[in-house]
């Protein structure tokens, strides 16, 4: 099975205009790696979930996500956005954005990642490490260790 996150799925300088642009930038990385077949279709699924309930979490986090028919491989893309993007958290914009993509019908994979990621985000040390990681490689190593327990 492919790795959930790779260096090609990390963007340390996300466009900061809005949620749409930030999410699209990460979705395009998924498409480039062949993990998403139809970027627009996938983004529509992500938007539908976001409209139901915003995915922003206090402390500068956004976790847009969707189970989607346009996803071939369970994936996690990560982006850092210095200016911040509004993901609907009550305390302001997110500078750490995680885009989770799961194939439709595959419950378990999607579930474990989202749940274990959210639990780790309680810890400031994890968030700060993500904010200061110098390279995409460092981000991947950090997420694999903290979230995937490798």
């Amino acid at each position: 099975m492919s790795d959930l996150i790779t260096v090609d799925l990390v963007e340390l300088d996300l466009p900061g205009q809005d949620r749409k642009a930030a999410t699209a930038a990460l979705a395009n990385r998924l498409a480039k790696e062949g993990r998403v077949t139809d970027v627009e279709g996938f983004l529509a699924d992500v938007r539908a979930r976001e409209e139901q309930l915003p995915t922003g979490i206090e402390g500068g986090i956004g976790i847009p996500h969707a189970r989607s028919a346009h996803v071939t491989t369970p994936s996690l893309a990560f982006g850092r956005c210095a200016d911040g993007v509004d993901f609907g958290a009550s305390d302001g914009p997110a500078d750490l954005v995680f885009l989770i993509a799961a194939p439709d019908g595959e419950g378990a994979e999607h579930m474990t990642i989202l749940a274990s990621l959210a639990r780790r985000l309680v810890h400031d040390s994890f968030k700060n490490a993500l904010r200061t990681a110098p390279t995409p490689d460092a981000v991947v190593t950090l997420i694999e260790k903290e979230v995937l327990g490798r």
Binding site: L53, T55, I57, G59, A66, S90, A115, A118, R119, V122
Partner: protein, 314 residues
């Protein structure tokens, strides 16, 4: 950061028997033990969603030690207040055809200094950084009924907003202190307002009584009918459809409060989150709290104009 205070937590034992026969010795089919406590549940839900929280709770005796051990597994940061009396054990007897019998102990009697210690621990946990403190659940014997009123006054001095989720005399007594939010369920709302509630309109009127007596906002959970929020801007109603069948409504009200506070603790957005979290909780066993992925298939609707004649399910 959201601080929760649970003055009367419990060790919840669930025992399954084929049929409960009074006066006989029976063997249980299965047995399980869970950490119980409304504030503790709120903190568990928040941790599962990545929100900083701290749970203040009383703990005493062996049941208290077992409770703390169970809670440590959940990753909730704890601030325990040691008390002399033993933490209560609540017993739930389940029969296969669905009858549930609950035996809830009153909880340990607290001394005056232990009451002061609970308040001090709560204020210390709030520090200067908590946005909200939530006082949750029934009070153990010896705990003065105005404890949530005192918590409200002191927390406000520290700049934190206050939510109270309790019933009976403790709810009555907190209102005049002006908690920012109270979260009664239908029965608690009716009892506190001294009114019968049959329709959504009745529920809004009852919530107005609580506001008139001092509550800043009233979030009333209405079971399958969702929840209403009454604040200074008026009333709203929200309901959601669960993504699966209803498994256990235990703790759903706590998930509702957690969702409301996580989404900022005010307004329509928080109301929507509240019903989503609460609705997700009923599809999970026991007092399991929803994780973020459990919200994905819940669809919620918020109504700004309330149909006052809508008859409530219960």
């Amino acid at each position: 950061m959201i601080v929760t205070v649970t003055a009367n937590p419990s060790l919840d034992r669930t025992v399954e028997v084929d049929r409960l026969r009074r006066g006989e010795v029976q063997r249980a089919l299965t047995t399980s033990v869970d950490a119980g406590g409304k504030g503790v549940n709120v903190s568990r839900a928040l941790v599962a969603h990545g929100y900083p929280t701290r749970a203040v709770l009383c703990s005493g005796g062996f049941a208290g030690l077992e409770l703390l051990a169970l809670l440590r597994e959940t990753g909730v940061p704890l601030r325990e207040v040691p008390v002399t009396g033993g933490t209560r054990s609540n017993l739930t007897l389940v029969e296969p055809e669905g009858t549930v019998t609950k035996l809830n102990e009153p909880g340990p009697g607290l001394s005056e200094s232990e009451v002061d210690a609970v308040l001090a621990a709560a204020l210390e946990a709030i520090g200067g950084e908590a946005d909200w403190v939530a006082g949750c659940g029934s009070l153990p014997p010896g705990m003065p009924v105005d404890i949530y009123a005192r918590l409200t006054a002191r927390a406000h001095e520290l700049g934190a907003r206050v939510a109270v989720d309790t019933s009976g005399a403790a709810l009555d007594a907190c209102l005049s202190a002006g908690p920012d939010l109270v979260k009664p369920n239908l029965d608690e709302l009716a009892a506190c307002a001294g009114a019968e509630i049959r329709t959504l309109g009745d529920a809004v009127k009852a919530a107005q009584v609580l506001r008139d007596r001092g509550a800043g906002a009233v979030l009333a959970s209405l079971g399958p009918d969702g929840a209403i929020l009454l604040d200074r801007t008026g009333a709203r109603h929200a309901s959601a459809r669960p993504a699966g069948s209803v498994v256990s409504t235990v703790g759903a009200g706590d998930a509702t409060l957690a969702g409301f506070l996580a989404a900022g603790g005010a307004g329509e957005r928080a109301l929507r989150a509240a019903v989503c979290w609460g609705t997700a909780a009923v599809t999970l066993p026991g007092s399991s709290m929803p994780a973020p992925d459990h919200l994905d298939r819940v669809t919620a609707e918020v109504q700004r104009s309330i149909d006052p004649d809508r008859v409530l399910t219960k």
